[in-house]
């Protein structure tokens, strides 16, 4: 089973990297960009067919390691 975990900064948390990328896109002349927030994507393979079990395990993985829930949100998708 394949899964994707996406970790993003919570709203309101300053993201200087996102801001720098935003500025770079503007300087490249790419129009219409209002704002950029940088995050992380984890593609994870699991040796199980139990979808609910996999979701629970990945949620646990996010809480324990993949995300710092002080400043980050996470989303688990089973692909």
């Amino acid at each position: 089973m394949k899964a994707r975990v996406t970790v993003t900064l919570k709203t309101g948390v300053l993201d200087p990297q996102g801001k720098a990328i935003e500025g770079a896109l503007r300087s490249l002349g790419i129009d219409g960009v209002d704002s950029v927030r940088q995050g992380k994507v984890f593609d994870i393979e699991l040796g199980t067919v139990d979808k609910a079990g996999a979701e629970a395990a990945l949620k646990n993985a996010c809480e324990k390691l993949l995300a710092n829930t002080v400043v980050e949100n996470y989303r688990v998708e089973i692909l």
Partner: protein, 232 residues
């Protein structure tokens, strides 16, 4: 006083901090991260600076979950002293021993320079050799030192007198150029609720010898030595 200096892959300041401790009569032992127990009779755990696990995932995230950290949490819960410097501060935040998080510096640059701090209180195991609101010159060397926490946490830290050090300029003024990395409330270091755990971004262990620029960092290690002598 006996100190356990933790060593994770990528940590590079363990010998500097061990030297600073020894200079003030604290006996350091280097402890590998895969150990499950601290050496018998450990009074102080030091998590030194460096780049544990290459700063992968988030600074301090992987080290914060190493085997030895369970023993460190138990030691802290018993009231034992824990000092985290630079990457060590990031590791203490990631391990849940201190609140908040160290984000990328405001201006995105790795900053390596001398920096003034104000000692916010001088009645703890770490600062008793300093004077009231003493301004000290130490070094900073970090890319992620921008202290961030939610407003309730900041209020608690301020209300309980748990801000250990604040960034300032040579005259002791806060804000503006005195704050190198954008940290909320100019926070350079914080204590746990019982004041036994201290995390700080600056490196006091760099400034312990007049040969290399100053001795303002010595006060912290002298404080620990004096605290240990009193407790013995």
């Amino acid at each position: 006083m006996k100190a356990a200096v933790l060593l994770f892959p990528g940590i590079n300041r363990e010998n500097d901090v061990a030297r600073a401790l020894a200079q003030s009569g604290v006996k350091p032992t280097i402890v590998w991260h895969a150990e499950h127990d601290l050496p018998q009779g450990t009074d102080l755990v030091v998590v030194p600076g460096g780049f544990s696990y290459g700063d992968y995932l988030r600074c301090g995230a992987i080290a914060g979950r190493a085997n030895i950290m369970d023993a460190v949490r138990a030691h802290a819960a018993r009231g034992g002293l824990v000092l985290g410097i630079c990457n060590g501060f990031q590791i203490l935040c990631e391990s849940g021993l201190l609140p908040g998080v160290l984000m990328r510096n405001r201006d995105l640059k790795f900053i390596c320079k001398e920096q003034y701090l104000r000692v916010e209180r001088h009645d703890t195991a770490y600062t008793n050799a300093y004077s009231h609101h003493q301004i000290i010159k130490v070094c900073i060397a970090h890319g992620e030192g921008n202290y961030v926490a939610d407003s309730a946490t900041i209020q608690t830290l301020e209300g309980e007198g748990r801000v250990a050090f604040r960034y300032c300029d040579a005259a002791g003024h806060f804000g503006g150029k005195g704050n190198p990395n954008g940290s909320m409330n100019d926070i350079a270091g914080i204590y746990s609720e019982k004041l036994n755990v201290l995390g700080m971004m600056p490196h006091p262990e760099n400034l312990i010898d007049s040969l290399i620029g100053g001795i303002d960092g010595r006060g912290m290690f002298e404080s620990l030595g004096a605290f240990g002598a009193r407790a013995a």
